[in-house]
C-alpha cells in the first residue's frame, strides 16, 4: 500500500504538487490524468524517489521510502536520456548493478542488439527497452509517465500486454499518467485527475461512468454540477458530474467513454482559469 500525506513539491513559487493526500492499495491500476502542467509528472517523480518533496510524506507498506523500497519501484519517464551514451549491453549491465536483477533485454519478441547505441533507438524503442529493464527487476509498483501516445500500434501492444501480464501474475500496482484514456480505456480501475497540483477527481472507473453524463439544453440549470460546457449554434452541450439519476428533467442524457470524460474535465480546467 502507498500512503501519501500532505505532499508538496515546489518549483520556485509554484507548487507543482500542493498538499496532496492519497492512498493506493496493492494491485490497483490507476490512470492519472490532467492538463499539461497539472503536476502529474512531478507527483510520479516524487513517488519514484527521483525528486525530493518539500513537504509531506510518502510511505510504502507503512515505511518511508528508502533505497531498498525504491528497488521495488519502476518508473518509466516520458523522455529518457540517462543512458544515451551507452550501448544496449552496457545500459542493461548498469541497470542490473543498481537493481541487482539480471536484465533481460527482450520483451515479447522485441529484441535489441547488444552493441546498439541507446541514442540510436527511436523514442518508442527506448521506452520498450527501459520497460523491459524495469520489469526484469520484478517491481511491485510501476509508474508510467505519458508514453503510450507516442508508441506505434505494435509497440503499444507489446507495452500494454507486458503490463497486463504483471498485473495478473504479481498484482503489480500501476499508475499511468496520461492526458487521455485513448487505447488504454480498459486498463485502469481508478481515475485521478490533477489540477494545479491537487486532485480534483478520484473515483473508480465503474462509478465515474455511471455518474458522468452529457446532455444538451438551452442554458445551464443552476442546481446541476456542470463540469464543462460549450455553446453550439442552437444548443448548449453540458457535461455533468456527479449526475444523480433523480434529475430526470434534464431529458435525454448520454453516458460517455473515459476519453470523452477526461476531455471534459480538462476542458473545464481551462474554462475556469
Amino acid at each position: 500500500m502507498i500512503k501519501i500525506d500532505q505532499l508538496s513539491v515546489r518549483f520556485g513559487k509554484t507548487r507543482a504538487v500542493d498538499r496532496l493526500n492519497l492512498q493506493i492499495g496493492k494491485g490497483e491500476s490507476i490512470l492519472l490524468a490532467g492538463a499539461n502542467g497539472a503536476g502529474k509528472t512531478t507527483l510520479l517523480r516524487a513517488m519514484a524517489g527521483v525528486l525530493k518533496a518539500d513537504h509531506g510524506s510518502i510511505r510504502y507498506e507503512g515505511k518511508k521510502a528508502d533505497h531498498r523500497s525504491r528497488k521495488k519501484i519502476a518508473y518509466i519517464p516520458a523522455s529518457i536520456s540517462l543512458y544515451d551514451g551507452m550501448t544496449v549491453k552496457e545500459a542493461a549491465r548498469m541497470h542490473a548493478h543498481f537493481y541487482g536483477s539480471s536484465a533481460a533485454w527482450t520483451l515479447s519478441g522485441i529484441a535489441f542488439l547488444p552493441g546498439q547505441k541507446i541514442a540510436s533507438l527511436s523514442k518508442g524503442e527506448k521506452t520498450i527497452f527501459f520497460l523491459s529493464l524495469a520489469l526484469a527487476a520484478a517491481p511491485d509498483y510501476l509508474f508510467v509517465d505519458d508514453v503510450v501516445h507516442f508508441l506505434d500500434p505494435h509497440l503499444r501492444e507489446v507495452f500494454l500486454t507486458s503490463i497486463l501480464r504483471l498485473i495478473e501474475e504479481k498484482q503489480l500496482t500501476v499508475i499511468m499518467a496520461s492526458q487521455s484514456a485513448f487505447e488504454i480505456e480498459g486498463i485502469p480501475e481508478r481515475i485521478m485527475v490533477m489540477e494545479k497540483g491537487k486532485l480534483i477527481l478520484d473515483e473508480s472507473v465503474d462509478l465515474l461512468k455511471q455518474k458522468f453524463v452529457r446532455f444538451y439544453g438551452e442554458s445551464i440549470p443552476c442546481d446541476i454540477p456542470v463540469v464543462f460546457s460549450r455553446q453550439w449554434q442552437n444548443a448548449r452541450e453540458m457535461y455533468v458530474y456527479p449526475y444523480l439519476p433523480e434529475i430526470h428533467r434534464l431529458g435525454r442524457v448520454e453516458h460517455l467513454n473515459l476519453t470523452e470524460i477526461l476531455r471534459a474535465f480538462i476542458g473545464g480546467e481551462y474554462a475556469r482559469h
Binding site: R165, E168, G186, I187
Partner: protein, 131 residues
C-alpha cells in the same frame, strides 16, 4: 469453434454497465445462442484480457461471478469451461425480451404505430412458416 466467443465479445466503453458485467452478459448470450457449448473451454484470463486490452482483474471478476452463478466452472490458473445450465435456458426469454424492448423503443421513437411494428416484425418470417 473456440474463436467464436472472441469474435462475439463486444465491449462498449461508453456504457454505464461495468466492463465485467458486459463480459458476463456476452458470455451468457454466446452460450444461449449456442456459439459455445457445454464443457467447452473459455479463453484464459490472460488471453481474454490481452485480446480485449482490459485489466485481467476485470476478466477474473467476470469469471468468478459466472462461476458463482454456475454458468461456468473452473478456477484461475487451471482454466474455465462452460457448465450445463438449465438456469440459462430460462434466461433466453429475458435476453430476447431485452432485444425486443430496444427494438420497439427505437421504432416508437421513429413514430411507427403498434400495428406497423407488428407487421414489420411479421414480414421477417419465412413465408412457409406463418408462426
Amino acid at each position: 469453434m473456440k474463436n467464436l466467443l472472441l469474435s462475439t465479445l463486444e465491449i462498449d466503453f461508453a456504457s454505464p454497465l461495468p466492463v465485467y458485467e458486459q463480459i458476463k452478459k456476452n458470455i451468457k448470450q454466446a452460450i444461449a445462442r449456442n456459439l459455445i457449448e457445454e464443457n467447452q473451454a473459455l479463453p484464459s484470463i490472460r488471453d481474454l484480457a490481452s485480446f480485449l486490452k482490459i485489466n485481467p482483474n476485470t476478466v477474473a471478476r467476470a469469471y468468478r461471478e459466472l462461476t458463482q452463478e454456475k454458468i461456468i466452472n473452473g478456477r484461475a490458473g487451471v482454466g474455465f469451461w462452460v457448465e450445463h445450465s438449465e438456469q440459462l435456458d430460462l434466461k433466453k426469454t429475458d435476453m430476447l425480451r431485452e432485444e425486443f424492448s430496444k427494438f420497439t423503443e427505437k421504432a416508437i421513437e421513429m413514430g411507427f404505430s403498434r400495428q406497423q411494428i407488428k407487421d414489420m416484425l411479421g414480414s421477417f418470417f419465412p413465408e412457409e412458416d406463418p408462426k
